[in-house]
Amino acid sequence: MIAIASARRATTLQELLDGIRVSPAESLYYHFWADLLQARFEEREYNNDFASWVAHQLHEHRLAEQLAVIDPTAFPGLEGLRVVLVETIEAALEESERLAWLRSERPFDFVRSQIVIFDTGWRAGDPAELAELLPFLPVESIFYHFIDARRREPPGVDDFSHWLSDFGPALTPLVEELVGVDYYFGSLVELRRRLIEAFAHRLAAVSGP
């Protein structure tokens, strides 16, 4: 993923709202997910850039919480996500006139993502081979196959679970465990570790003692 700046900036909540209304869908995508691909140390306090800016620059923690809880994967497309963001901010502005007057010293810069997808040349023929490859997969691949995949067909499903479902019912527990992973928190390195553990644990159970 590479970032493209729009030169659009917001210093007030109204400007943020206007930006969310008119920015391309991939801008929403960037502000929800790109942070995961950056090196960082702390748990994200707020899970998207909009919530984080409202909290840290406007100091409006109630609205920040309302924005942070929005789950981007709950919508089939990014337009649905845009509607909820707009509605949430509009409601806050209607509720409190004060919010319209807040101005941040540091602007919110609207950025969009461009994603280049290419074949790494790495192949797994069966679940055991995938388990062997997992520790070496770059975090970008983990993001693409486990998170970004949910935007593609079949919607809402990660590539690993989708692929494993072809290997019969013995792997259903592994698929279920993968489906249960909450990838919205923590880092991609941590997510990769959880996937490695799930594969190791469930494949060992399938192959027996």
Binding site: I2, P107, F110, V111
Partner: protein
């Protein structure tokens, strides 16, 4: 050992593997970088290793240096300051000089630039080359290394005419970007871990530099490396040192940098700094000659804490240099420094000499935390601010430009 192997050793084999995969999509592509200096300054520093590394990855990369003289650089210095927000502008004669040099360099470089698949033009100085080469066949990218968010409107109007014709631009931070009719990519700069400024040094080399400067290796040391420029606030660093010294006995301070010899303002600031240092034997003010990179490296490695207390900053790569040496950095809360420092993890962001003094005291009295932060700082820099990451993003940009402007570009 090949260059790629050397980079794999310091940046990680995963980073190099990623480069190989992306470069596989650009084999044989002719890539030309153009800037105005062969050495000195951040652009030349990064192009020096970028070109051989790109070539080893299978790209036909080259670097052309724009030929200018004093009258040209006088004009572009004004432009540079104007793009960064000063209300100055070259006069008509200056613009004529600017255009004339661009026309002459375009003629000199015509064949190499017209035939290139990708041309990276660094900063405003050579930006007008594009207007003299209508038969160019490749993609042209304007790489702006400075903060263009609030330029002088007259200068920007003029530059915009040239820059708008590029296929893409690259800025270091989203906040530096101006509206342009093409994609403005955001690619932060990076440091070269194998350069003299950043490579591992033998203990004797470090000791030699320290003893040459009269530093006591057994006493605590704070170092700021930067040009003698008011925006770097060297006098503020001295104030912070004085405030901290009462709590950190034996504290030593080094303020070292180049650029004062050929910069009237630099000489003036150096004079002010020497005045502020007075006769304190523990404040070492050093004007370094150009290319004295090993000294910079050794000083950063000898430091317990690196400081970059800028009050205004473009990106502030001296922060990444300090972090790469495993030192926590105390930096001004401005520009790209914000991207590099996370409080209590890689260092501290400060807004005043008092803030810097407080953090110096904190880090000097918490040795374990200082060492832990230093280790995190190095790992963070490995992932985020090494040349390999920057090249990866340049390669991604080239692949994207070659493949269309879609949100998603699927290859292979």
């Amino acid at each position: 050992m090949t260059l790629l192997q050397q980079y794999a050793e310091v940046a990680g084999s995963d980073a190099v593997e990623h480069l190989r995969q992306l470069a596989g999509l650009l084999q044989g592509a002719r890539v030309v970088h153009v800037n105005t200096t062969a050495w000195g300054g951040g652009v030349a520093e990064i192009l020096t290793p970028l070109i051989p590394l790109s070539r080893e990855l299978g790209l036909d990369a080259s670097w052309e240096v724009f030929e200018g003289a004093a009258d040209f650089f006088a004009c572009t210095k004004l432009m540079h300051n104007a793009v960064q927000g000063m209300r100055v502008a070259p006069d008509e004669r200056g613009l004529h000089v600017y255009e004339d040099y661009n026309a002459r360099n375009a003629e000199r470089l015509r064949s190499v630039l017209e035939d290139a698949d990708f041309v990276f033009i660094h900063d405003p100085q050579p930006a007008a080359l594009i207007s003299h080469l209508p038969r160019r066949r490749g993609s042209w990218i304007w790489r702006c290394h400075i903060d263009a968010s609030h330029p002088d409107p007259r200068v920007w109007r003029y530059l915009h005419e040239h820059v708008a014709t590029y296929d893409a631009s690259v800025f270091s931070l989203p906040t530096f970007v101006r509206p342009l009719p093409h994609p403005s990519y955001v690619i932060p700069p990076a440091i070269d871990p194998l350069s003299d400024k950043n490579r591992a040094l033998a203990d004797e080399e470090i000791r030699g530099v320290c003893s040459g400067m009269g530093l006591d290796p057994n006493r605590p040391l704070v170092v700021q490396i930067s040009r003698f420029d008011r925006f770097k606030d060297p006098v503020g660093v001295i104030k912070a040192y004085r405030l901290a010294k009462g709590f950190v006995p034996g504290l030593q301070l080094v303020l070292a940098g180049g650029g004062a010899a050929d910069d009237p303002e630099g000489a003036e600031v150096l004079h002010e700094v020497r005045g502020a240092a007075g006769d304190d034997p523990d404040i070492h003010v050093a004007e370094l000659p150009p290319r004295d990179d090993v000294t910079v490296n050794a000083l950063q490695r000898s430091a317990d804490i690196v400081v970059q207390k800028s009050v205004r900053e473009g990106f502030g790569l001296t922060v990444a240099e300090g972090l790469w040496k495993g030192r926590p950095v105390i930096g001004g809360d401005t520009g790209g420094i914000r991207l590099q420092l996370t409080n209590y993890h890689t260092g501290f962001l400060v807004n005043s000499p008092e803030g810097a003094a407080l953090r110096i005291r904190y880090l000097m009295h918490n040795r374990d935390q200082r060492l832990e932060m230093g280790a995190k700082a190095r790992e963070f820099t490995r992932r985020s601010f090494l040349l390999t990451r920057q090249l990866r993003e340049y390669l991604t940009l080239m692949v994207a430009l070659r493949s269309g402007a879609g949100e998603r570009i699927s290859l292979g």
